[in-house]
């Protein structure tokens, strides 16, 4: 009897697991070339630090993680930082649910470029509150720092997004930025479901108004 029950239980459980629609959070890495987007991603995904630099075109990663007790999947799109690929970015951005905007604290230009990226994201997503984290990478290279914590904080406040300093080399704050972003995405999704349940046609109406222009 007991064993029979257990088996059924198990079957139920595995069935439940399999059938349960897996939540996927789509994260997009953005930022100038060479700031460490891929390094952060690989550190997060595989706990490895890649020393040699190879410009990314567009890499895709997905794995299961446990977010606050709930099993979800994180899908990471690691994009190209180089300007050469700027044209194809828009397409990628559209699918993103949350963005890690990365710059290198040792390179002022990369910090300046974050403004352009944010602008592009906001334009493509058409959403000021899109989950977004400003990430200052290469925090281990303190002696080469060019971007002060203050100015980065200031910009983050201006955008009302969190600012986190990470190091893909030492793995400092790596998990934190991804999990924080996923939490943001989750809360946004939950909010969206509530909204769509409550006022389903609101947005469309709003849009219709626009046509009057």
């Amino acid at each position: 009897m007991f064993s029979c029950w257990t088996r059924r239980q198990k079957a139920n459980m595995s069935k439940a697991k399999a059938t349960q629609p897996q939540v996927i959070h789509k994260v997009i890495m953005v930022g100038s070339g060479g700031v460490g987007k891929s390094a952060l991603t690989l550190q997060f995904m595989y706990d490895e630090f890649v020393e040699d630099y190879e410009p990314t075109k567009a890499d895709s990663y997905r794995k299961k993680v446990v977010l606050d007790g709930e099993e979800v999947q994180i899908d990471i799109l690691d994009t190209a930082g180089q300007e050469d690929y700027a044209a194809i970015r828009d397409n990628y951005f559209r699918s993103g649910e949350g963005f890690l905007c990365v710059f290198s604290i040792t390179e002022q230009e990369s910090f300046q470029a974050t403004a352009d990226f944010r602008e592009q994201i906001l334009r493509v997503k058409n959403d000021d509150n899109i989950p977004f984290l400003l990430v200052g990478n290469k925090a281990d290279l303190e002696e080469k720092r060019q971007v002060t914590v203050d100015e980065a904080q200031q910009r983050a406040q201006q955008w009302s997004v969190p600012y986190v300093e990470t190091s893909a080399k030492t793995r400092a704050n790596v998990d934190k930025v991804f999990y924080d972003l996923m939490r943001e995405i989750r809360s946004r999704k939950m909010e969206a479901t509530r909204q769509s349940n409550g006022k389903p046609k609101k947005k469309k109406e709003k849009r219709r108004k626009c046509t009057l222009l």
């Binding site: 690989l42 595989y46 890499d59 895709s60 997905r62 058409n126 626009c210 222009l213």
Partner: protein, 929 residues
């Protein structure tokens, strides 16, 4: 679960899309525990295992195949089976234009045909369809074209047209878009505009085909015009314009073309470098290979380079080739130096010579090497000799110094015998332990011969073989090139080489002769002899025990040299040397043995050992036999026994004769020894101290004297020794000699036996004389003791005491002989009895006047004596007795009775004494039976 058992899972691809052949980094879990475990990879359904490179269980690098569209990346492992993936790869085909950036290499020859690729490309690129960068999704309800035409007459929504109206466009495409979006779109368009505003080049680039089309049409127009307008005036204007347009167009592409030219020339240069990489690396490679010792490679490279570049006119090649030549020159010198370095294994030398030949070295390296080697060989042979002579002189002065220090050891060194020397030095070793040491060392000459033969054996064969190889031509690598040379060398150098070989061999043989057989060099000039070394001319310097080892070295050397098939009289030269050495050794050893034997009397200990076979002997005969046998054995091993190719030592008449004479002398040498021991023994013999080394000088004299027995005893012992030697030892030795190949030994046997028979006779006579004289001399005297007279004597009452005394004396002799050697008992006793009976007869016959009882008494005593010794009576003795009895006057019957009674009485009284003779005879009879 086992780690390797889990199914592979791909969780990352980099990049996630690309045309076929894109290099993809695949990451994930359980991608195989090792490279063998990883057995399959599918990207978009295409098997890509061939291009895959397994890096780690979490990383694989592969190239995408011709899969199109989005698909899975599946890894298959042996342990985990077919895996799954959370990410996919998107394959697409791109037609990449000649001026477009591409991340991968495009084979343009296939895809870009001059005409087609261009015409296809649109005037505006794809992204221009959506200049604002805002998606038009959600704008389903479009305005109808009629409506728009109504609103904007004379206008159009097509951006390519001149009457383009932005309002029309916006209404047509973005009537549903918010104002913010519109603003963003504007910003996007502005940014794009700045990007595009690189100037006309960008525009021409993107509209290349159109531009070319224009040019071609214009050109065609021009042609047509020229054809139509014969005057050509109107055309000129256009022609000028066309030319301008053309030069303008050329100018636009100048940069590109320039780059292409540069790339071409770089590529050319690279390919030249690649093609002649070999040459440019050659100097370095040569050095490296020389360091590594890979000479063959160097030579091959060089030959190849020479054939390719020796005649080159190209400046760069010339420069590099010169460097190569320089390197090779150094290499050549190095090889030559190496070749001249000796000693060097034969193979190495051959190799070096071949290298040098293939490097086309000037001169004749092989011949130079041969000459060098011969000089070197001569040099070391001479040096060896010099060293050893010096060494010997040094040790000699040292020994002289030590002699001066201790006169005792000086004396001991003067004595030529090795054994004696050893004895004395050991005896005195407490005084000078350091100086005494050198005498035990191997003699210098033996060390010399050992080293000399070693040198010959080590180096000469390779010298000879190298020469052989040289003349047989096997040293020449390239026969074609050098075909004239070996023939040339053959005729001029063959005899020279022969001379060289002979020189070395004769030097060797002369060096050996100078050391061991100085006499054989006597007819060479003085200055030459000096060259071969003057050794201290003292034969005794080499103890006999060492000589055979010297001979063995020479023979070994000679026999291995003989195998070399040397030219001319070389074989004879060395064979003669060996034979002479052997003969010399044999003569020396035999002489040594003879002198050893002659010294044997000093070793007599007088301890008689008796055994049934040979009677009583001392150890001397055994020692003698030992010495001879050892000598024979020694000689057999090193001298007599023949090796392959050596002449029989006894085949030469002189040697044979010498050997026979020496052997005979050796066999006879023991006789004087025995003789001197028997007749004048050395009283103060050092052997006493030798056998009892602990007792020092004080005990020496007394003990030595005590040990030597009195003359008669000595005589009988020596007699026994002599007999034993003659009967047993000599035949045995002769047999042994015969067995070892010595010839005419019967002669030697006869001579030896004669010698020992003579000795035996003289010893026997001396002994018997010694023994019988006292007995015989006492008979007459004692017979008439107490005024006895045959005439007046009374009735006999028994045998008188004097006779008993005679008998006792004889018993004494008998016992003495028996104690030493029972074999001699009969012989000696008979002889003694003969003499006694002779004396008796003489005395009895001298009696002229017999009284009444005189004859009775005489008869009684004669009978008693006769009865007692009856067993030892010889015919001569019996005859004597008979004569004596016959001379006596006739006795009466009652007197005869009386004498018989008295005889019986005597017999019973003397029973024990008589038994001495009988018992012995019984014993002897039984032993003989």
């Amino acid at each position: 679960m086992k780690k390797g058992g889990a199914a592979p899972l791909v969780t990352g691809v980099s990049p996630k899309e690309g045309p076929p052949g894109t290099r993809i980094t695949i990451r994930g879990e359980n991608l195989g525990c090792d490279i063998k475990d990883f057995i399959g990879l599918k990207i978009c359904g295409v098997d890509c295992i061939l291009s895959a490179e397994w890096k780690s269980p979490s990383k694989i690098i592969a190239r995408s195949g011709p899969g199109k569209g989005k698909g899975d990346v599946i890894v298959i492992t042996r342990t985990g089976g077919v895996g799954s993936c959370t990410v996919g790869f998107k394959g697409y085909f791109v037609q990449i234009g000649p001026l477009q950036d591409s991340a991968i290499w495009i084979d343009e020859s296939q895809t870009v045909s001059i005409r087609h690729g261009r015409t296809q490309s649109p005037i505006f690129s794809k992204e221009d369809e959506d200049p604002l960068g805002i998606s038009d999704e959600g704008n389903q309800a479009k305005f109808k074209e009629e409506e728009l035409l109504e609103m904007f007459p004379d206008a159009s929504g097509n951006m390519a047209l001149q009457n383009f109206s932005p309002a029309w466009y916006l209404l047509e495409n973005h009537h549903d878009t918010s104002f913010e979006d519109m603003k963003a779109g504007l910003a996007y368009m502005k940014r794009r505009a700045t990007q595009r505003s690189e100037g006309p080049i960008a525009f021409v680039k993107s509209n290349l085909s159109s531009t070319l089309d224009c040019m071609e049409s214009l050109d065609a127009l021009h042609q047509q015009y020229c054809a139509d307008d014969l005057r050509g005036d109107s055309v000129n204007q256009y022609a000028v314009l066309l030319m301008q347009a053309k030069s303008c167009a050329d100018g636009l592409f100048k940069e590109v073309l320039g780059r292409k030219d540069k790339a071409d020339s770089t590529r050319n240069a690279l390919s030249v470098l690649q093609r002649f990489k070999f040459l440019f690396y050659l100097p370095l490679n040569i050095k490296r290979n020389i360091e590594k010792g890979d000479y063959n490679l160097v030579i091959n490279d060089y030959v190849r380079a020479r054939s390719l570049f020796a005649e080159t006119q190209v400046q760069v090649f010339k420069k590099v080739y010169n460097e190569v030549e320089r390197n090779i020159g150094e290499f050549r010198e190095m090889l030559q130096q190496k070749l001249m370095e000796l000693p060097n294994p034969l193979d190495e030398q051959k190799k070096l010579i071949r290298y040098l030949l293939s490097l086309e070295c000037e001169g004749d390296p092989a011949w130079e090497c041969l000459v060098n080697m011969q000089q070197w060989l001569t040099g070391i042979l001479c040096t060896c000799k010099e060293d050893h002579i010096k060494e010997e002189q040094m040790s000699q002065t040292e020994s002289e110094a030590s002699m001066l220090k201790s006169p005792v050891s000086h004396m001991s060194i003067d004595t030529p015998k090795g054994k004696r020397r050893e004895t004395n030095t050991s005896f005195k070793s407490t005084l000078s332990p350091d100086q005494s040491g050198w005498k035990f060392n191997t003699p210098q000459k033996i060390l010399f011969i050992e080293e000399l033969t070693d040198i010959m054996l080590e180096n000469f064969p390779s010298f000879w073989k190298l020469g052989q190889a040289y003349f047989s031509g096997s040293l020449f690598v390239n026969v074609k090139e050098n075909s004239e040379r070996p023939q040339k060398t053959d005729s001029s150098k063959h005899s020279k080489f022969k001379q060289m070989v002979t020189d070395v061999i004769s030097l060797f043989s002369n060096l050996v002769r100078a050391a061991f057989l100085p006499k054989s060099l006597e007819n060479t000039p003085e200055e030459n002899r000096k060259e071969f070394g003057i050794w201290r001319d003292n034969k005794q310097e080499i103890p006999g025990a060492w000589l055979p080892s010297g001979v063995r070295y020479v023979r070994n050397c000679v026999s291995s040299l003989s195998l070399l098939d040397l030219p001319g009289d070389c074989p004879t030269l060395i064979q003669d040397l060996a034979l002479d050495m052997r003969t010399d050794c044999m003569v020396t050893l035999l002489k040594q043995a003879i002198s050893d034997v002659k010294q044997l009397h000093l070793k007599e200990t007088w301890a008689v050992e008796t055994d049934d076979e040979s009677g009583g002997t001392t150890q001397l005969p055994a020692l003698f036999e030992n010495i001879v046998n050892e000598t024979i054995q020694h000689l057999h091993e090193v001298v007599v026994q023949n090796k392959v190719g050596e002449p029989e030592i006894f085949s030469q008449r002189t040697v044979q004769k010498d050997a026979t004479v020496l052997c005979t002398q050796l066999l006879q040498a023991f006789a004087p020894c025995i003789h001197s021991l028997a007749f004048n023994p050395p009283f103060h013999s050092p052997e006493k101290s030798n056998s009892l080394p602990i007792l020092t000088a004080e005990g020496k004299g007394t003990l030595g004297k005590d040990k030597v027995p009195v003359t008669d005893k000595r005589l009988i012992i020596m007699l026994s020794n002599c007999n034993h030697t003659m009967v047993r030892v000599i035949p045995r030795l002769v047999e042994n000699l015969n067995k070892h190949g010595y010839v005419e030994m019967n002669k030697a046997l006869r001579a030896a036996q004669d010698t020992y028979e003579d000795l035996d006779d003289s010893l026997f006579e001396a002994y018997v004389e010694e023994k019988s004289n006292p007995i015989v001399g006492a008979i007459e005297q004692n017979m008439y003791k107490g005024g006895f007279s045959w005439k007046t004597c009374g009735k006999p009452s028994g045998v008188r005491n004097y006779l008993k005394q005679v008998i006792m004396h004889m018993i004494e002799v008998h016992a003495e002989v028996f104690a030493v050697s029972p074999v001699f008992v009969t012989r000696v006793t008979q002889k003694v009895i003969e003499q006694v009976s002779e004396e008796f007869t003489r005395v009895i016959q001298c009696v002229t006047d017999h009284g009444k009882y005189g004859p009775v008494q005489a008869r009684l005593e004669l009978m008693a004596l006769q009865e007692t010794v009856s067993l030892y009576l010889t015919p001569h003795a019996s005859k004597c007795f008979k004569e004596a009895l016959g001379d006596l006057p006739e006795v009466k019957t009652e007197d005869r009775k009386l004498s018989e009674e008295l005889l019986n009485k005597f017999k019973s009284q003397m029973k024990f004494q008589m038994m001495c003779f009988y018992g012995d005879s019984i014993l002897r009879n039984s032993s003989e039976a």
